[in-house]
């Protein structure tokens, strides 16, 4: 379970999170929508401790992320994150990309790490690209590789930060299909996205962020069909 309690965060004078309260249960798929600058991506990087917070606290399975005593490297094994940029390690093959952290962080033996990498890459449909360097892959393939790389760590949670935003339109589908597959397998996921159709389909709940505040959170049918918040209504009208 991820518990976010009254989290505030500023970049200089700009307050990007103005007191967020949110709980994500095990097995839940939460999507976060909202305009740019609404603080939704920042929240994700706070959850795995990449960004410090100014106030409040975030608990992951009871471990306070920003406590001094928390070993972030250990915590991050359980929280996978995939970014808008694919961040493939360019000097390693697809297979080596997925093996690296397994070997270094989890200390898995080579054979085991390789078997797991092959399994995850098959899972995201890259089983035929094992020995290829990332520069030979399309954006969609690189992004699926990044997903496989995070999944190979056997995380309990997956965070997706606008993973389709940098992709050509015709490549968005293959990545969303991978996310759908994950959701159907019961992975706990928080997806920041601009894909409204996707959000409507896979989410248990959808949260709407606006100017650093979580303005509304509801199951997708309710949030999209009967939005309560005026800013949300405006946002939905603009995105359709």
């Amino acid at each position: 379970m991820i518990e976010i309690e009254n989290v505030r965060k500023s970049f200089g004078a700009l307050e990007v999170l103005k007191g967020i309260d949110l709980t994500v249960a095990k097995g839940e798929v939460l999507t976060v929508i909202g305009g740019s600058g609404s603080g939704k991506s920042t929240l994700l990087t706070c959850i795995n401790g990449l960004e410090p917070i100014d106030q409040g606290r975030i608990l992951v399975d009871g471990t306070e992320v920003h406590a001094k005593s928390t070993n972030l490297n250990q915590l991050r094994r359980r929280i996978g994150i995939v970014f808008q940029q694919y961040n493939a390690f360019p000097h390693l093959t697809v297979l080596e990309n997925v093996m690296l952290a397994q070997r270094k962080v989890l200390g898995r033996p080579k054979a085991e790490a390789e078997a797991e990498a092959v399994r995850q890459l098959n899972h995201v449909g890259l089983g035929d690209k094992l020995k290829v360097y990332p520069s030979r892959l399309s954006g969609g393939q690189q992004q699926r590789m990044a997903i496989a790389r995070a999944l190979a760590m056997s995380p309990d949670y997956m965070l997706f930060d606008e993973v389709t935003s940098a992709l050509d339109p015709q490549l968005v589908g293959e990545v969303l299909d991978t996310l759908r597959l994950l959701a159907s397998e019961g992975m706990t996921m928080i997806c920041v996205t601009h894909e409204m159709k996707f959000a409507r389909e896979v989410s248990d709940r959808v949260a709407f962020f606006h100017q650093g505040v979580m303005a509304e959170i509801a199951p997708p049918a309710q949030l999209f069909e009967a939005p309560q918040n005026a800013d949300l209504r405006k946002f939905l009208a603009a995105t359709h």
Binding site: N48, I81, F83, Q85, H91, K104
Partner: protein, 218 residues
């Protein structure tokens, strides 16, 4: 003229010994200079310009004062002021190492800075520690970026090592000068000497080119 020289086989061996000395001084200096350069470069990058200012200043001294002056002063300082009984060879390797380190630190820092921060963030978010990120992601990528400059530095140091004659180390150029004084055939001897330099440099340059091609296939 070329077939009518007083240069004997023994003289050629004498030159080859000088070339060997050049190679040894260069190898030692480039090795230690690179190791120190990596440490200094990582330090400068990691602590930021403010805290690294004293180190930057010292490295700037080694980069801006002519090597000849550095060698003479260092030799005088170590032997006369400190009173250590060290050979000219040791002084030469020490000064050249620091000289190399000063340039190498900049190359390393530039290489690290060229690695995209988002890539490092991805490595850290997989649970990799700072050290693991450095050794498995940053250094391999920085090395690819820094390689051409580093090869240039190594070749430069090899040629600059000709100056260590001022601390009584007889390397390639000094050997050639000794022979010139005796045989009075400056042009021919300089051609031979230059060929030796070329023979040493060429493999290093080719090796660099090979690595670049190999890495660019990624």
């Amino acid at each position: 003229m070329f077939f009518d020289t007083a240069l004997s086989t023994n003289d050629l061996i004498f030159l080859a010994r000088g070339a060997g000395m050049t190679l040894i001084v260069t190898a030692i200096s480039v090795f230690f200079g690179t190791v120190m350069g990596i440490v200094f470069g990582v330090f400068r990058y990691q602590v930021g310009p403010w805290w690294a200012a004293p180190l930057t200043f010292v490295l700037d001294i080694f980069r801006s004062i002519p090597l000849l002056i550095q060698l003479v002063l260092a030799n005088a300082f170590v032997t006369t002021v400190l009173g250590w009984r060290v050979s000219g060879f040791t002084v030469a390797c020490g000064v050249l190492s620091l000289y190399t380190a000063a340039y190498c630190a900049e190359i390393v820092r530039g290489g690290i800075e060229a690695v995209p921060p988002t890539l490092r963030r991805a490595a850290r978010s997989l649970g990799m520690s700072w050290g693991q990120d450095m050794t498995s992601v940053v250094m391999p990528l920085a090395a690819r970026i820094a390689l051409p400059s580093w090869i240039g530095l190594a070749l430069g140091v090899m040629k600059d090592s000709a100056l260590v004659y001022v601390v009584q180390v007889v390397e390639l150029l000094k050997s050639a000068q000794i022979l010139i004084t005796r045989l009075q055939e400056p042009l021919f001897l300089l051609i031979v000497c230059g060929s030796f330099y070329f023979l040493i440099s060429f493999p290093i340059a080719r090796f660099g080119g090979y690595l670049e091609r190999k890495w660019s296939r990624d």
